[in-house]
Amino acid sequence: MPRFVTLTIQRQDRPETRRYWQTFCIPYVEQMNVISCLQAIAADPTTADGEATTPVAWDCNCLEEVCGACSMNINGRVRQACTALVDALLEENPNEIRLEPMSKFPIVRDLIVDRSRMFDALKRVRAWIPVDGYYHIGPGPRISPRQQEEAYPLTRCMTCGCCLEACPQINNASDFIGAAAISQVILFNDHPTGKLIAHERLDAIMEPGGITECGNAQNCVKVCPKDIPLTDSIAKAGRQTSIHAITRWLSR
């Protein structure tokens, strides 16, 4: 067992200031993850050179990989900090653990980024069930176990942003909404009530920044911490938009 863990962290005090790197050396404890390393730094923000510094800022909440807050690049791969176990990371690289914020979102501070574009995308694609209201009017639609089993994986998307980070089509030159929102379109379009406004969602992803921007690199599905079949969703969305385009054209 190592006695210390070395972390090299990319830092940035404010959106407009320059980036810099700092290295921290913290005592090793069993069953550490990246979160507990950051907690240790917060409690004693001193660099490996013994210089006092500010605590590293990062986002987290549940620490159970369901809230989606703690995405960051760890040893060059985007993932959740809470399930990034130090022992496993040291097997990848025994010398250090490297932490960087996600690069496809505006930086707020250190490892915190602003993912509002993802929530905006959910608005754009109307990712909700258009119910009449909240008064009691009986149960929802009957749903077969098979439908449930198909939909369930898609419902687990926690808007963590890993799929956008890994996607080459997400860059300064594009306004691609990304795999997560497209997958939500499929989730809601396949729901018996959600279906009723399927055309609105398809219209939305046929606009600029929609599905045609997907370059089929298939990186998204590899990094999704919830193993969401994103490429299946994208393929389905492709088919649905094609059919929708034809019907739209025919009914002109």
Binding site: D13, R14, V29, E30, Q31, M32, N33, S36, Q39, A42, A43, D44, P45, A52, T54, P55, A57, D59, C60, N61, C62, L63, E64, E65, V66, C67, A69, C82, T83, L85, A88, R109, F119, L122, K123, R126, A127, W128, I129, P130, V131, Y134, H136, I137, P139, G140, R142, I143, P145, Q147, Q148, Y152, T155, R156, M158, T159, F188, H191, T193, G194
Partner: protein, 663 residues
């Protein structure tokens, strides 16, 4: 007159349910949250949500039985009308969630599937995979997002609530909040404010709660004059997985499927678990409770594991833990029955529990106590009068509390899968109450209040921040937090002794003194998490005092509050006559205890420490009876109790007949 506005603080299940219902009713809502509401703590709930359903009904279940299980489980400490109303709404709430697209598990025919949870005989729990909380939260989050596009809801998802704004008449007129990014402190005038800010697990250091669950928001309301009720009731889950960063839940089903709890007989045994032969293992639950074995009720399991570790048997050299062993069960069986939860252990611990016994320890899990709030009874149903302004309103007019932040629904102990229900229920019913309140509030809107009211409050919070930034000293807030968690977990959780709690109270005073000398390691005026944490710590200390003082004063055992000194020993004689006599004595002592302690604890904030008083509990619907689950001599106590209650009611009738004849 300007438009009346409502501010909702917190976007967990409770806050989102309130927001969408308020928006539907035509209100404009400002929704404030520490982070994107989609990341709220509610996502953690795994098990499910309770409601009576078509199948349980045919097994003899009813809303009334759900209500009975809930108050019995809560050891009768809840006011009964709100609980009754909640259980009555249960089936309607599940229907609504179903309509909102929650992917509940299904039966082959396509209906919602239900399973059985602790504290009931009926399969009342609807669930969506192992992530029910996440699924429910998302369904409500999506509705609120829709309302955002309709300009009915304005989200402020980087806003930390610092305190309510209360005018000279004692009426809530809005809140003060800080932008967690720009650190700008500003007021949000509002005619009604809803606190849906969740529980306070972090007061106990590490818990199963999310990192936002500091309870600071609730403490700020408490410090501003809102009463805090039943603070001493904190639920501890027997099997959590201790880790460096937090405690994660290990479902009870691990024991249900044959998991065995043990420690080495020799506390100094340094061998790894697998090297210790069976004869040298101490299966303490099986040994002490031959009848129940590893499946003793939750609170007993928790206490036993806790005390074994305190006696020095912990298997973790750095902390407390015992083994929960599944390695004797064939892998194929484990994979078939427990794959989901074993993966969690594997994912976070990096160890395969099919090969290595898991290390587990009880973890603080749920806050039964919370902000005091009121209700109005509907005399026709015995439940709530929906739309009465008093429902969920704290003692400050215009300030409401819902969800885990309130104290209303779970009494001394919460039943599994009842919390999601109570959060959504309170969220849904608070909207008509607020509308009624706003309708009565004819005078003027908050926006018409003098701007000095808001400016003054903003300045007050700015000054407090200034003091914190400029405190002189060398105290590290994280050290204080660690010590707070240690003392609270050691002395104010599972097993409570007055002497220790009294010590904790003086420790809390010392920590408060030291807190005045904290040194911040970050002076930034941009996204300063360190400042926010340190400020929250000060609030946590005040809430901890209310919790500890409530625990100190309550000299009895009730639900999650267990004081061995005041336990009424169960009857244990072998001959029937003595046994019945003992049971009778037990019941008499129980009745006397209820007379003294079947009361709501109400804490009021004072700078010198909390002032505690007690309020009667409304038990108008179901008379309290002994909660004998897992108690020695349970059967005979239940019998004798019934006889005694019958005697009493005949006596009562006789008395009423002679003295209480209609005039």
């Amino acid at each position: 007159m300007a438009e009346q506005r409502v501010v909702v603080i917190g976007g967990g299940l409770a806050g989102l349910a309130a927001t969408m219902r308020l928006a539907e009713s035509g209100r404009t809502v400002d929704l404030l949250s520490l982070g994107p509401v989609k990341r709220s703590h509610s996502v953690c709930a795994q098990g499910g949500i309770n409601a009576v359903n078509a199948v349980t009904r045919q097994l003899g279940d009813s809303e009334w039985k759900h209500f009975d299980d809930t108050v019995y489980g809560g050891d009768f400490l809840q006011h009964q009308p709100p609980v009754k109303e909640m259980c009555d709404w249960g089936p309607k709430i599940i229907d609504l969630l179903d309509r909102l697209g929650v992917m509940f598990n299904r039966t082959p025919e396509g209906h919602r599937d239900y399973r059985r949870f602790g504290g009931t005989l009926f399969p009342r729990t609807a669930f969506a995979g192992a992530t029910t909380g996440q699924q429910l939260l998302y369904a409500l989050d999506e509705q609120v997002r829709w309302w955002e596009t309709e300009n009915r809801v304005y989200k402020h998802e980087m806003a930390e609530f610092l305190g309510p704004v209360i005018d000279e008449q004692g009426i809530c007129r809005g809140v003060v909040a800080q932008d967690t990014c720009t650190m700008v402190i500003r007021a949000f005038p509002a005619d009604a404010v809803v606190l849906a800010t969740g529980g306070c697990g972090l007061i106990f250091g590490k818990s199963t709660n999310s990192m936002a669950c500091t309870g600071a928001a609730n403490a700020r309301a408490y410090r501003a004059g809102v009463h805090y009720a039943n603070g001493e009731f904190v639920q501890v889950h027997p099997t959590a997985i201790p880790a460096a960063d937090k405690l994660r839940l290990m479902s009870e089903s691990a024991r249900g499927e044959g998991g065995r709890v043990w420690v080495p007989r020799d506390p100094k045994d340094a061998r790894s678990a697998r090297e210790i032969p069976d004869g040298e293992r101490w299966y303490f639950l099986e040994e002490r409770y031959p009848q129940y074995g590893n499946l003793v009720p939750r609170d007993i399991a928790t206490r036993e594991i806790f005390s074994v570790c305190r006696e020095g048997y912990s298997v973790d050299p750095h902390g407390y833990a015992v083994y929960l062993d599944l390695t004797h069960i064939p892998r194929a069986d484990l994979d078939r029955k427990l794959a989901g939860i074993l993966e969690i252990y594997e994912k976070f611990q990096g160890v395969d529990p099919r090969d290595e016994p898991m290390k587990i320890f009880p973890g603080v899990h749920y806050t039964m106590g919370g902000l005091w709030c009121g209700y109005e009874v509907d005399p026709h149903t015995g439940g709530l009068k929906i739309g009465a302004p008093a429902n969920q309103m704290t003692n400050i007019p215009g300030l409401y509390a819902i969800g885990e932040a309130d104290y209303q629904y779970h009494g001394a102990n919460r039943l599994g899968a009842n919390s999601l229900l109570s959060c959504i229920f309170a969220g849904l019913i608070v909207s008509p109450s607020i509308n009624a309140y706003l309708g009565n509030l004819s005078r003027k809107t908050a926006a018409d209040s003098p701007s000095s009211l808001f400016e003054h409050e903003v300045e007050r919070h700015q000054e407090a921040e200034h003091r914190l930034r400029n405190a002189t000293g060398h105290e590290n807030p994280y050290t204080i937090h660690r010590e707070l968690g240690e003392t609270m977990t050691r002395d104010v959780t599972v097993v409570r002794h007055n002497k220790n709690i009294a010590e904790t109270l003086s420790t809390l005073d010392e920590l408060t003194d030291r807190y005045r000398h904290v040194r911040l390691s970050d002076a930034a005026d941009w996204a300063n998490q360190h400042l926010a944490f340190t400020r929250a710590l000060g609030d946590m200390l005040e809430l901890a005092k209310a919790i500890a003082k409530g625990a100190l004063l309550r000299d009895e055992c009730r639900g999650a509050h267990y004081k061995p000194e005041f336990e009424i020993p169960g009857p244990d004689a072998t001959d029937q006559d003595t046994l019945r006599r003992q049971a009778r004595q037990w019941c008499e002592r129980f009745r006397a205890r209820n007379e003294q302690w079947l009361k709501t604890t109400v804490a009021e904030y004072h700078p010198a420490g909390p002032a505690i008083r007690y309020e009667e509990v409304d038990t108008s619907l179901i008379p309290p009876r002994p909660r004998t689950y897992g108690l020695k001599g349970a059967g005979v106590i239940d019998d004798v109790w019934k006889v005694m209650e019958a005697e009493r009611s005949t006596a009562e009738q006789r008395y009423m007949g002679s003295a209480g004849a209609p005039q």
